[in-house]
């Protein structure tokens, strides 16, 4: 570290003429962190603190949090949030893995990459709205199936967990494919070829050599999609209707319609706690910074 500092010319003034000094405790570059840090603490940290304080207020923390876990409606919203996130994660991995594999195996990836980046650049709201056009009773799927005479009455593809899962899978798919692709691209293809040369059938070589090497990408993708899915609000609100609320939709409802800030805050902190637990468990397998840095296009 000291060598590097000297090499790059950012030698701190304190070490001049004192070659025996170990690395300094503070240098000038550290000052540059302050504006951003103070801004984040005020604009973002303060709001979070307000939620935390409110979750303890009203009739007290014990009451607010026990309401969160004992009221059947909130408990089922918690279960629904976890189930939906899990279903979305699994379907993103199953559908995204072959696509990432194709990208890793192709020489020209521009088109395949553009197909991923365009949705990332298009707003969540537009894409959710587009899914509504596909899934609603008079939407693309139901109209087509009815015209073909396959069904008489429209299938219930929307206003339930199925609709939310389909929509969220479509919306979060790029966030699964990118980490998968990043890892797969680095896999040495000679290893797979070597296995085949040694007599393994292609399917065996793929399963026993390629898949294990791609697992870091699978873990990153799973963690990223699951955590993002936990906090989703737009898709559940538009595609889920009132029948299967998630924690996010319950919180907004509590604040906007019932003005019950204390319960809303307690549910919000519970949601955050779930996300932190998942991230902490996940950080044993993957580097969190890589996961959230890799998603940026």
């Amino acid at each position: 570290m000291v060598d590097q500092v000297v090499l790059t010319g950012h030698r701190p003034a304190t070490s001049v003429g004192r070659p025996g000094l170990r690395r300094p405790r503070v240098n000038g570059w550290a000052l540059l962190v302050l504006p951003g840090l103070i801004f984040t603490l005020i604009a973002f940290g303060w709001p979070l603190a307000e939620v935390l304080v409110r979750s303890f207020g009203g009739e007290g923390a014990a009451h607010n949090y026990s309401v969160t876990f004992t009221t059947p409606a909130y408990r089922s919203a918690l279960v629904s949030t976890l189930l939906t996130s899990a279903a979305v994660t699994v379907s993103c991995l199953v559908i995204g893995y072959p696509y990432a594999y194709l990208m890793a195996m192709s020489r020209r990836t521009e088109l395949l990459l553009a197909l991923i980046l365009l949705p990332i650049w298009t707003s969540f709201l537009v894409r959710t709205y587009a899914w509504q056009i596909w899934l609603q009773d008079t939407g693309v799927i139901n109209t087509t199936l009815q015209k073909l005479g396959i069904i008489d009455d429209p299938l219930e593809l929307i206003r339930n967990r199925l609709g939310v899962t389909i929509g969220m899978t479509g919306i979060l798919l790029p966030f699964a494919i990118l980490p998968l692709y990043t890892v797969m691209r680095r896999i040495d293809r000679e290893l797979v070829r070597a296995a085949e040369n040694l007599g393994a059938r292609p399917s065996v070589a793929f399963r026993r050599v390629f898949v294990p090497l791609s697992l870091p990408g699978v873990y990153s993708a799973a963690l990223l999609v699951f955590v993002l899915a936990l906090g989703f609000y737009i898709a559940p609100a538009i595609l889920g209707g009132t029948s299967s609320p998630t924690l996010s939709t319950v919180i907004v409802d509590k604040v906007q319609r019932e003005l019950d800030f204390h319960t809303a805050s307690a549910i919000g902190i519970t949601l955050l706690a779930v996300a932190i637990v998942v991230l902490t468990l996940g950080s044993r397998v993957v580097r969190i910074r890589d996961v959230f840095g890799g998603g940026a296009p």
Partner: protein, 264 residues
């Protein structure tokens, strides 16, 4: 040879579901926006630009677009300046508690958005920032700062230390070295971060829902109330315009990356 062709065909076939999920939803809004029918049902009937005319002549949509533009420009400027400074501070600074500072700075990226929304509403209402442009700018900048930080940090790590050393050896002051040597090198990363910050604000809905008031709607908030209240194809027209805009943004970043690769 035929086994290789068969393998290739299998690869392509298995990738189709993903390609469909990625593309189809975005494209369906385009034909829907040209329908003659007043309701949003499939298939679209006839061909008409009436929904574009309706949107273009609507005060509500115009005001919302203007608000979104101003807020996105201002908040991406704040986020880009602060994010770039912070990126250097974290990459080169030496100070106790650095990992804590880093965790705090990146945390807006992982906290559920609804939680940020209600918290911002609670906090900003204490100081009269709810329903104001300033409140939206500050909140959006806070959301975008981690994204700029991540993008710029990645670029800082690619700087060749010898060029800064050369500038210093030739007598440039640290400030001059930073402005004339370091900044130009990381410019593509800063621009990419700024674009990301702009898009973050431009698309932001949930926090904005809590901070806007009827006279200060942003584009996503206006879309939201249209989607929830009446399902007329006007929203499809707006969506089509937004998809066109994001395609332009995507092409821009593509060329940016190409230039970056060529200069590297």
């Amino acid at each position: 040879m035929s086994t290789r062709a068969r393998r290739r065909a299998l690869q392509l076939t298995l990738a189709i579901p993903a390609a469909f999920l990625l593309v189809a939803p975005t494209l369906v809004v385009v034909p829907m926006s040209f329908t003659e029918s007043p309701i949003l049902s499939f298939p679209p009937k006839g061909f008409s630009t009436q929904w574009y005319e309706a949107v273009a002549s609507s005060d509500a949509w115009q005001m919302a677009t203007w608000h979104s533009l101003v807020i996105a420009v201002l908040s991406s400027m704040v986020a880009t300046v602060l994010g770039t400074l912070t990126a250097f501070g974290l990459a080169r600074g030496i100070f106790p508690g650095k990992s804590v500072a880093q965790a705090i700075l990146l945390s807006p990226a992982i906290v559920p958005i609804v939680l940020i929304g209600i918290g911002t509403f609670f906090a900003y209402s204490r100081v009269g920032l709810v329903g104001t442009m300033a409140g939206l700018v500050i909140a959006h900048a806070a959301l975008a700062l981690p994204l700029v930080l991540i993008t710029v940090t990645a670029t800082i790590e690619t700087i060749d230390p010898s060029i800064e050393l050369a500038a210093a050896n030739l007598g440039a002051s640290p400030v001059r070295t930073f402005l004339q040597v370091t900044l130009p090198v990381i410019r593509p990363g800063v621009i990419a971060g700024a674009l990301l910050a702009f898009v973050t604000s431009w698309d932001e809905l949930v926090v904005s829902l809590f901070l806007t008031q009827p006279l200060l709607h942003t584009l996503p908030v206006e879309m939201w109330s249209s989607v929830r209240e009446q399902l007329d194809p006007g929203v499809a027209a707006v969506s089509t315009l937004l998809v066109a805009l994001s395609t332009v943004g995507l092409v821009m970043t593509f060329f940016l990356r190409l230039r970056q690769q060529r200069s590297a």
